[in-house]
């Protein structure tokens, strides 16, 4: 597993001469974003190859979420460009799904779990007859198979976030964006969801960009970790995570490499806070 991880990362270094097959899924080029005189993002460049999981960490106010919103097409850069498979992202796009942290606001309270997933299918004009099977499969995959007829308000926070992830998967996205998705969940639920998301990404081959303020979460999930620095937001460092996959909540977190990375990132972030 680690070998294939390495090989998918290699073209990144040789981006210019890479053949079309290994062209980056996402290319962020010299992106800046300002609101009036206030510069939020000051020149970010990053290539993300297909199937890669990138975690973005950084102190609050460093533009993590803003960067993610640009990838989703919900915000436009002031200068520079964000490309998906070579085409500029000019607005929201069905092949880029985003999981918001505030699942309570992102779900439709008047629709059941099945109805919420169905919304994504209705949006992409999936024939009515095919929907129930797809919905059932997605909800089972994410562990909500027995709760299809429940309303979001009848579900725990972890279940609601699962539901939002299921709806994003119903989009059949190439890229899955996660904006601190587990920030509001308790530790046990968070770990369970981390493993489920890793499993989903592995089976679907989706590219994932995961924003978090939890260093350990970033190491546990990511192939690479992008540390942003604030005022204005820019890439401080990119750290490669060479940990075996599939990852394991106990073994991976006890791995000396995991601990070394945690120390390294901690020092990096600490410097930014001073």
């Amino acid at each position: 597993m680690p070998v294939t991880q390495l090989s998918t990362r290699l073209p990144h270094g040789a981006a210019g001469s890479a053949p079309a097959a290994s062209q980056p899924r996402i290319r962020i080029r010299d992106v800046t974003l300002s609101y009036g005189p206030l510069q939020i993002i000051g020149g970010v460049s990053l290539d993300i190859v297909p199937g890669e999981t990138i975690c973005i960490i950084g102190p609050s106010g460093c533009g993590k979420t803003t960067l993610l919103r640009m990838l989703a097409g919900l915000a436009q850069p002031t200068s520079g460009s964000v490309e998906l498979d070579g085409a500029v992202i000019g607005g929201p796009n069905r092949s880029v799904a985003i999981v918001f942290q505030d699942y309570g606001k992102a779900l439709l309270p008047w629709r059941t779990a099945a109805g919420n997933v169905s919304l994504a299918l209705e949006a992409r004009a999936c024939p009515r007859a095919e929907r129930p099977a797809i919905i059932r499969e997605l909800l089972e995959k994410i562990g909500l198979g027995r709760h299809t007829e429940k309303y979001p308000a009848e579900m725990s926070g972890g279940m609601q976030q699962r539901l939002q992830i299921a709806r994003c998967l119903a989009q059949e996205p190439k890229v899955l964006l996660m904006d601190e998705p587990f920030g509001a969940l308790d530790a046990m639920t968070r770990q369970a969801l981390q493993d489920e998301v890793l499993g989903l990404v592995a089976t679907t081959g989706a590219t994932m960009v995961f924003v978090t303020h939890d260093l350990e979460e970033a190491i546990y999930l990511g192939d690479r970790i992008v540390c942003l620095q604030p005022n204005p937001g820019r890439v401080g460092r990119i750290v490669d995570v060479r940990l075996a996959r599939p990852r394991d909540q106990l073994l991976t977190r006890e791995d000396p490499e995991f601990l070394r990375l945690r120390r390294e990132l901690y020092d990096l972030i600490k410097d930014d806070h001073q």
């Binding site: 989703a72 069905r94 799904a97 308000a153």
Partner: protein
């Protein structure tokens, strides 16, 4: 839960009985001349006679039909226009202030204008009802759309929902509690304007019959008409709250 609502019903009925009793005492004591103020027995007799004789029944049906038609017209136009205005932030900014200005105009003040254009006709009354009952629905829809969770607009954009889908699948359901409350308000206004319209344009119905009864000092018939109007309003409002509870089942879950 069931016992509780039964108790509430009994208490409500007890208050009604008490009210009728006071009514009877006041009329028996002849505090007000019986020519103007009939007792409950005389009112009931007039009610029975009117409903079995047919005149009152057809008049009631006329009024109810007028009320429902006007209300339906107002509801469709109100929610439709409200959706068009509400879905666009810009349209809201442009149009909402004008609507707020037009809204407090008493619909009965529009009757002379309506008469000038449509004459003393059933259509005139219908237009007046629709115009008067339109406002709650229109404004509730606009406000409901404006109050929709902004995150849901983002979700709709990322999922790639069309504007029609956003209206039908996100904005309308999210505005539904407000719209349903306004539908009830609109029904009351429709009933009022149906009666006023009938009185002014002398169209067949309870409004006209009440006016005629009062002019010929048939106070029992007058009160019978009023009792029926009260009953119509009550039944309409109850039916709507029943529909409201069914449509908003998800809200009961949320609490």
């Amino acid at each position: 839960m069931k016992n509780f609502s039964l108790r509430k019903l009994l208490l409500g009925c007890a208050t009604l009985v008490l009210f009728i009793l006071v009514w009877k005492l006041v009329t028996d004591a002849k505090l007000i001349s019986p020519i103007f103020f009939p007792g409950p027995e005389r009112t009931y007799a007039a009610l029975e006679k009117g409903l079995s004789g047919g005149a009152l029944l057809t008049q009631t049906l006329e009024t109810v039909q007028r009320m429902l038609l006007g209300w339906l017209l107002a509801s469709f136009v109100g929610v439709f226009l409200g959706s068009l205005v509400g879905i666009s932030k810009r349209a809201r900014a442009f149009i909402a202030p004008t609507l707020e200005l037009l809204r407090p105009l008493p619909a009965s003040a529009m009757i002379p204008i309506a008469i000038a254009f449509l004459g003393f006709s059933d259509n005139m009354v219908l237009v007046v009802i629709a115009f008067g009952a339109l406002w709650p629905m229109l404004l509730a829809t606009i406000h409901g759309f404006a109050a929709m969770e902004p995150r849901l607009y983002e979700v709709s954009a990322v999922l790639g929902l069309s504007r029609g889908q956003v209206i039908w699948k996100l904005a309308l359901p999210s505005a539904m509690p407000m719209i349903l409350a306004s539908l009830r308000l609109g029904l009351t206004i429709s009933l009022i304007l149906a009666v006023v319209g009938e009185m002014l344009a002398s169209r067949a119905g309870l409004g006209q019959s009440i006016l005629a009864a009062s002019r010929s000092f048939r106070s029992a018939d007058l009160f019978a008409g009023i009792v029926i109007l009260g009953a119509v309003g009550l039944v309409g409002s109850r039916l709507l709250s029943f529909g409201e509870r069914r449509l908003l089942r998800w809200q009961a879950v949320n609490r």
